[in-house]
Symmetry: C2
Subunit: 175 residues, 2 copies
């Protein structure tokens, strides 16, 4: 009746999947609930206050931290863990807002830089406090220092496992 329950018996059948134990299920559901609620919460806060979803805000942040407030599209996509296509659409929108501007790459005529404008920088400055506050309230204020450390380690491991081999063949970016 369940979709991921304890195996009835450890039947060593080759094709038999290793179902999640009850405890694993609890963990997984907590994860799904928390991430769903949190992403929703942050999206709503930023949409209301800054007029953009969480991902877009993240893009502005990456640009703000980059050398000349500029990053090649592919770099930015990689940093933000999103596809190039998604980034193209996103930057188009941010450009319409006047927060980002595109610039041609001199050394490679195919290349494009996404550049954070002063206006974009200003938007970031204005709305960072609210965002940090939301993150703090939802996450850090509720966790002990040990839990925070744990969270960092765990998420680091998970992220690394899903990363496109880190400097190997960047398959997901070929999509």
């Amino acid at each position: 009746m369940e979709y991921m329950n304890t195996a009835p018996a450890s039947s060593a059948a080759a094709g038999e999947p290793r179902w999640l134990t009850d405890e694993e299920q609890r963990v997984w559901r907590a994860y799904v609930d928390a991430t769903t609620l949190l992403e929703d919460h942050l999206d709503r806060q930023l949409q209301r206050d800054a007029g953009m979803p969480h991902v877009y805000y993240g893009l502005l942040v990456k640009l703000a931290e980059a050398p000349h407030r500029r990053l090649r599209m592919t770099e930015l996509a990689k940093d933000a863990k999103i596809t190039r296509s998604r980034l193209s659409h996103a930057v188009a929108r941010l450009e319409r807002n006047g927060w980002v501007r595109r610039e041609d790459c001199p050394s490679d005529k195919r290349g494009q830089f996404a550049v954070l404008t002063d206006e974009g920088m200003e938007v970031l400055r204005r709305h960072a406090p609210g965002h940090v506050n939301a993150v703090r309230q939802a996450v850090f204020d509720r966790l002990t220092p040990e839990q925070q450390k744990s969270l960092g380690e765990i998420m680091g491991i998970v992220a690394e496992g899903l990363q496109p081999c880190e400097a190997g063949a960047d398959l997901p970016w070929l999509r």
Copy 2:
């Protein structure tokens, strides 16, 4: 230059936001990276194999576990942590697929049940192994038992904090 960095000095100005420390930032970025990559990974796996995104799969699971494979729309939305509007659209799609059917509630003419069809149950059965496998590979196989326990606790805390007060005024569900 950064959007959530260490405070320059602990200026006790009333409006001064409590920026994240470097370590908190590392944790937060790991969290964002991991959740982005994982959700993307699961969506892709389920879309490819089962023809639906992760959220939709989750809805079928909730229904499969419910008493008569049926749940009131609002209940289902609450369980899945999504808005009613999103659920309405989702169920409409799942209904077109023949995996879910709507039924009127006899005791409340406004109410609707979402009911998992046999076909829907079958889809779940067929694709559960692949999904469990993906989750296991990305998460559980990479974490020690202690880390798994930690993850469960931490995510439980975060989820609880964002929950609509649990049996209190369910504000988010009025939206």
